[in-house]
């Protein structure tokens, strides 16, 4: 399978995620779109790891070439999990203070 297919698939999902972040105002949905983006990247990394594996068929360490990509995906998932927990805590706190999850409400950085 040519690698371009995977690249384009991953990009599509990534751009959908960006469109979601820019378009939606509900903070939770924005957060979910961020997860979407992360997953797109995960997909691409795994695809690249398999590509390197394929490219190194003749090398001596053939057995483990490309495993770094999948390990990186593993760590991304770890980080995503941690980030989700903290992010949701923040959203809950914000909801408690303002009784709304509107992103435009949080314009304290103004001026």
């Amino acid at each position: 399978m040519p690698i371009q297919y995977y690249i384009i698939l991953s990009m599509v999902i990534f751009c959908i995620g960006i469109a979601g972040v820019l378009t939606r105002r509900n903070t939770i949905i924005i957060f979910m779109c961020i997860e979407l983006m992360l997953n797109a990247v995960n997909l691409l990394l795994v695809a690249f790891s398999k590509m390197h594996y394929a490219a190194s068929l003749n090398a001596p360490n053939h057995a483990t070439v490309g495993s770094e990509g999948q390990l990186f995906v593993f760590f991304i998932m770890v980080v995503a999990a941690a980030e989700v927990s903290v992010g949701l805590a923040i959203i809950v706190m914000m909801f408690r203070n303002t009784h709304s999850v509107d992103a435009n409400f949080l314009n304290r950085l103004k001026n």
Binding site: C15, M32, V101
Partner: protein, 167 residues
Amino acid sequence: MSATHILFWFLSALAVVSALMVLFSKNPVHSVLWLIAVFFAISGHYILMNAQFLAIVNIIVYAGAIMVLFLFVIMLMNLNKESEPRKNVWMKLAGAISAGSLLMILVSLVGQATEVSHKTLIMKDGNIGLIKSLGKILFTQYVVPFELTSILFLSAMVGAVVIGKKD
């Protein structure tokens, strides 16, 4: 077209459609459900590439833990279709256009890139996705980051608890 190809196209379509539905759903609970569908599709891609470990971890961690957490929070805040805040039409348009242009640029980038023009990847073969090989490398070469992630989790936990305290 071999079975692999068919599965690839099917899973890709599923992923894209589900992602779009995440975007367009009014009810946040529906968005969560569509996102779970996306995760399943991506796990399917992983299995197609023989990255078994990651496929399972994806399902367990993402679809299982993270999305459940999202649902908890949504339920907690009692969000449904009416309480969805309205968005400015122009902002929506601007967001869509910029994302679209980003996509086009990236696609053209891929078209021009020479390093990846004739590379292919092996779908079903290869042991690197198995738990055994990954585990070997993880616990020998990359053990330090592994330990660091445990500290990361600790700090995330502490942070979440501190932030969520009701004072």
